[in-house]
């Protein structure tokens, strides 16, 4: 399909082993009692639902977990995010973008699934932003 990303991305690639593994056994999937910040976001159009829990200490993410339901892409990307964003400073998280998520997933996600892939990161960034505003 000329010019359209579909085949470069390739669906076989999207459902690669690491993504399926994180979807089947999500990491850090727990509600956090001592979270300093939490936030829930839903992708209404997809039915993806993610709640992020963060414990911030000294401007860093000391602990990060999530709860949620949704498609494999949204859940795996959030699971991977919780592993990789732990320990980052709030400034470091603020500049993370889609390429970071593509790096986690190991594949570039096409327009049809982009919202799924970015839900976790967007939720985390919103949670931290909202917290710094208050």
């Amino acid at each position: 399909m000329n010019g359209i990303d579909h085949d470069r991305i390739g669906r076989a690639d999207l459902y690669r082993q690491n993504i399926l593994d994180h979807n089947r056994s999500p990491r850090n999937r727990r509600r956090m009692d001592d979270a300093t910040i939490s936030r829930r976001e839903v992708n209404m159009s997809c039915g993806d639902d993610v709640e992020i829990f963060v414990r911030v200490e000294d401007g860093r993410i000391a602990d990060l977990s999530f709860d949620g339901i949704g498609c494999a892409i949204s859940q795996a990307a959030t699971s991977m995010l919780t592993e990789k964003a732990k320990g980052l400073t709030l400034e470091e998280v603020a500049v993370l973008d889609r390429s970071f998520v593509f790096g986690l997933l190991g594949v570039e996600v096409g327009p049809a699934r982009l919202k799924c892939a970015l839900l976790g990161l967007e939720t985390l960034k919103k949670a931290l932003r909202e917290n710094s505003d208050t």
Binding site: R11, L20, N23, C46, D48, G70
Partner: protein, 416 residues
């Protein structure tokens, strides 16, 4: 499926450019099992030719041009109206061209809602497409009337007991779909309309999934208004129809103001043209209307009854094949006794419909995953959405086989 039904599809596949080998080669060898006709049906050559003919030979504005090409544009445009009227058993002046079902439903609701207020009720079904549901919901907020929802029975048919409880003297409008795009359920319009008539309510039908897919006769259906889109019946996008009984259209004020909808304009006031022109302000979608006329010719030539039979047979075939898939649940009528449209909605336990539809797409099986513009329905069913396969007259056994094996592959991929 018997041979005859097979031939309908076999013959008509030739008519669709997107189903030809050349088109499929662009897909890197992936096959093209198009099972998304409920979202939009593919376009046959005859429709493309009709629109192309307009653009190449007489692409001029309609009405009042004193030269051959404009006269021809007007004639073809109005001929399409006559064709659509014939398909519905309506009179040509009862056919208003719109942008599609959504615009038609908004247009009629916009005009009717303004006459409603506190104490009045509009009855719809929980299955309604957002085009019908959100429209009434928002006007209800604006004008203070209430919207009531008829629910479903366990077999995904409309709960007529609830309908009888809900429809009463306070009911001013009953606006429901004919065939559900999300479940394939066919609504018992006859019974509903009898109830509505007993209480003097206006009857509106969202026939987006049924015009061109099953015979429709607005006289026997006894509706005041009916809406549909061209692109779901093998016509072009951007054109649709609002049918209204002549006296009902006559009694409504215009929706948009501008050229063509007026009879006489002075500095102080204007007099409206009669229906349908009163509702067609501005330069219409001329090519779209002409294409829609060609689509009416196309479905009529194939035979709308044949299309109906074919779609139902495909749906039943799919249901029986999918019944063997472990963990798969169908959302929609499965009982052979029940009428149904060519839509099969399903989920496999533990698999999100988007993942399912995505993997099916990778196998060249084109379906749709999500809420199908019926979020309140999905919520009531407790689902994030479903994966939906929907059939057109070009589909056959091979597409259903491909659907089944792609589902099995998705299960293997996601659950391995």
């Amino acid at each position: 499926m018997n041979e005859q039904e097979y031939n309908i599809a076999g013959l008509s596949r030739q008519e669709f450019p997107m189903l030809q080998d050349a088109a499929c080669r662009d897909r890197n060898g992936r096959p093209f099992h198009y099972l998304d006709s409920a979202a939009s049906a593919l376009t046959p050559e005859s429709v493309l030719r009709a629109m192309d003919g307009y653009y190449r030979q007489y692409r001029c504005n309609v009405h009042r041009g004193m030269y051959d090409e404009s006269a021809r544009a007007t004639e073809e445009y109005e001929t399409s109206r006559i064709k659509v009227a014939g398909l519905l058993n309506a009179a040509p002046e009862e056919i208003v061209f719109t942008r599609g079902a959504t615009e038609s439903l908004n247009m009629v609701a916009y005009k009717l809602a303004a006459r409603l207020g506190p104490g009045d009720e509009v009855v719809i079904s929980i299955m309604e497409h957002h085009a019908n549901l959100v429209t009434w919901q928002q006007f209800a907020k604006q004008y203070g009337f209430k919207v009531r929802f008829i629910g479903l029975r366990d077999d995904f048919t409309l709960d007529m007991d609830e309908a009888r409880r809900l429809i009463g003297p306070q009911t001013k409008v009953v606006s429901v779909m004919h065939v559900s795009n999300a479940l394939g359920t066919v609504l018992p319009l006859g019974e509903l309309h009898d109830l509505a008539r007993q209480h003097g309510a206006t009857v509106i039908v969202d026939a987006a999934q049924s015009v061109g897919h099953r015979p429709i006769d607005v006289q026997t259906m006894d509706c005041d208004f009916l809406a549909f889109s061209g692109h779901k019946m093998y016509g072009p996008t951007g054109i649709g129809v609002l049918y209204g009984k002549h006296e009902r259209l006559d009694a409504l004020d215009p929706f948009l103001y501008g050229g063509d909808m007026i009879l006489e304009v002075t500095e102080e006031d204007s007099k409206w043209n009669g229906p349908p022109h009163k509702f067609e302000a501005g330069t219409p979608n001329i090519a779209g209307a002409i294409g829609l006329g060609a689509a009416v010719d196309f479905v009529t030539a194939v035979g709308v009854e044949n299309i109906e039979r074919h779609e139902r047979a495909l749906a039943r075939r799919a249901l029986s094949r999918l019944a063997d898939v472990p963990g798969l649940k169908i959302y929609g009528p499965t009982n052979d006794e029940l009428d149904r449209g060519g839509v099969v909605s399903f989920n496999v336990e533990g698999i999100h419909p988007h993942d399912m539809a995505d993997i099916l797409g990778g196998e060249g099986v084109c379906t749709r995953g999500g809420h199908h513009c019926a979020m309140p329905l999905m919520r009531r069913l407790g689902l994030p959405g479903t994966t939906r396969a929907s059939f057109g007259l070009y589909n056959g056994e091979k597409d259903i086989e491909a659907l089944q094996s792609a589902i099995l592959k998705a299960i293997k991929t996601l659950k391995a």
